[in-house]
Symmetry: C2
Subunit: 307 residues, 2 copies
């Protein structure tokens, strides 16, 4: 393998899943999902991205082919005996929060990510997964060659693995969480204060995703607020947050710039990519997306927010 | 009375109240409140405003003096036998929604606003009050001399006086409601679709207030999204929506321009004035506010939202 083909500026560790999703508009089993799937597909519009994850023997070849459509490195997508991680969730009429009906960890239980030692990503994203796995990967990348590490997490880990998560937070440059997670993590209802508290836990950059209400970005003392791109039809919100993070990190890795002004641009790209994701089940909408669709929606978005 | 002193470009009908407010930061009785009080005080930073409302014999002279601090016309602030309208509410830790614990209509029950016929406001706001009272006032202003009429409402009227409210909506140019009210009024969970449905009920301009998440503005096919001004300390959210509306209408009346670009500016002024209101109980923060504080926060706000 040549150097060129094995170099991915961005790396993500997370889940690749088979989901069952119920929304007010329909119910679908065997939807291709997982935090790392959404993240990498979204990021691939900006840069080549390597995916670190595990699937079971039941993982359909057609799903692998979906990822192969894009510049996504699959050498570290391990296949293990057993079944692929499965999530079943349901959205109410406001589409803002999913109720988790079932989680089957399956092959995730024994997952131990091992990176080939020629892997030197400059940007690393620790998607929503057990903080111990996030730490495993973090320990295998070389700093400061890997110049920017970001993570996501969820209530389950904030409540159940606070200590382990705390260790991860000390070593990341950025965290991307939703408003409920930020409040829980900081034990603070006011989101601005919550972000300031989270910054003191480690990550200098804090992004708070607020679903249909947009996102907040904090870097040191600086602050940026962005509404969500307005959509009349939200079909399935699954993966919106992971696509958002993928857009943000993909854009950062592409531009190689994490100054505040560029972070703002990255957040706006993330919001736009996420706005496409929710227009169909799973990755379906992103599969027909073109780079020019992103640019055109971003231009429209800027127009809608300027005053 | 000279012509100059009796001319108010903006008029508001609504409640003047004595509130009891409980927030996570404290509990206070006898807070000066009411939709028309907050509205007129906020609007007075931009234009002279006439207040149409009723109070009881218990209304403290010191509260009247608060309104007299500003260019607020009080000739139509009627005093009737009985007690002033009283609202008691409580905010939970997220400070987003008030739980109404008690409402005593008192003098509002028999209120019948009667305008002196030399009153010719160009801008009229029908604040949150019984749709029948809104209609009474609407019937007494001369169109098209009164060139722009806007209204607010709440769940109580949407559910209890749908027919009367529907008639008001047919005759207003703009409605200012919060997200929950918009969803209820349109029977539609998606806010963009809800706004489009409300536009078809009458008002060409729809503003949806989303509390800490900002606001949406719709005029014909046009759309504008604004985050809320980020505050680390929200002390008492009572009156935020009415101050917002006061800022919007005050700015429109001052500039005499209801084109989309100016509506956007009006909404941003409304958001800034509301952000001051919530920094203290009742009208206390607005009483020490200066025009330059508004301009300086607006400049900062623009910076926080631009990308």
């Amino acid at each position: 393998m040549t150097r060129a083909s094995s170099h991915y500026p961005l790396m993500v560790v997370g889940t690749v899943a088979i989901d069952s999703v119920e929304t007010p508009f329909g119910k679908k089993d065997s939807v291709f999902g997982g935090s790392a799937s959404y993240f990498s597909y979204a990021a691939s519009f900006f840069t080549a991205v390597e995916l670190i994850a595990v699937v079971g023997e039941d993982f359909p070849g057609e799903y692998r082919k979906v990822l192969e459509e894009r510049p996504i490195g699959l050498e570290h997508l391990a296949t293990r005996q057993g079944k692929t991680f499965h999530w079943r969730g349901k959205y109410g009429s406001d589409l803002n929060t999913a109720e988790t009906l079932e989680t089957q960890l399956n092959v995730l239980v024994d997952f131990k990510p091992e990176l080939r030692n020629d892997r030197e990503p400059e940007y690393l994203f620790l998607a929503n997964i057990d903080p111990n796995l996030q730490m495993d990967v973090l320990n295998q990348v070389k700093r400061p060659k890997c110049r920017f590490v970001a993570c996501d997490t969820m209530n389950f880990w904030i409540e159940g693995k606070a200590l382990e998560l705390g260790k991860v937070l000390k070593r990341v440059d950025m965290i991307v969480v939703n408003d409920g997670e930020a409040r829980l993590l900081a034990k603070e209802a006011n989101l601005i204060k919550a972000a300031r508290k989270i910054q003191r836990m480690g990550p200098g950059v804090v992004i708070i995703k607020k679903g249909e209400h947009g996102a907040f970005l904090f870097q040191r003392e600086q602050f940026f607020a962005l509404p969500a791109y307005p959509l009349e039809e939200v079909f399935d919100p699954t993966g919106a947050g992971d696509s958002f993070a993928g857009g943000v990190m993909g854009y950062l890795a592409k531009t190689g710039d994490t100054d505040f002004e560029n972070l703002k641009r990255a957040v706006s790209y993330g919001a736009v990519v996420a706005s496409f994701t929710v227009e169909d089940f799973g990755l379906e909408r992103l599969r027909t997306l073109r780079a020019e669709d992103i640019e055109s929606r971003l231009a429209n978005f800027k127009r809608l927010c300027s005053f």
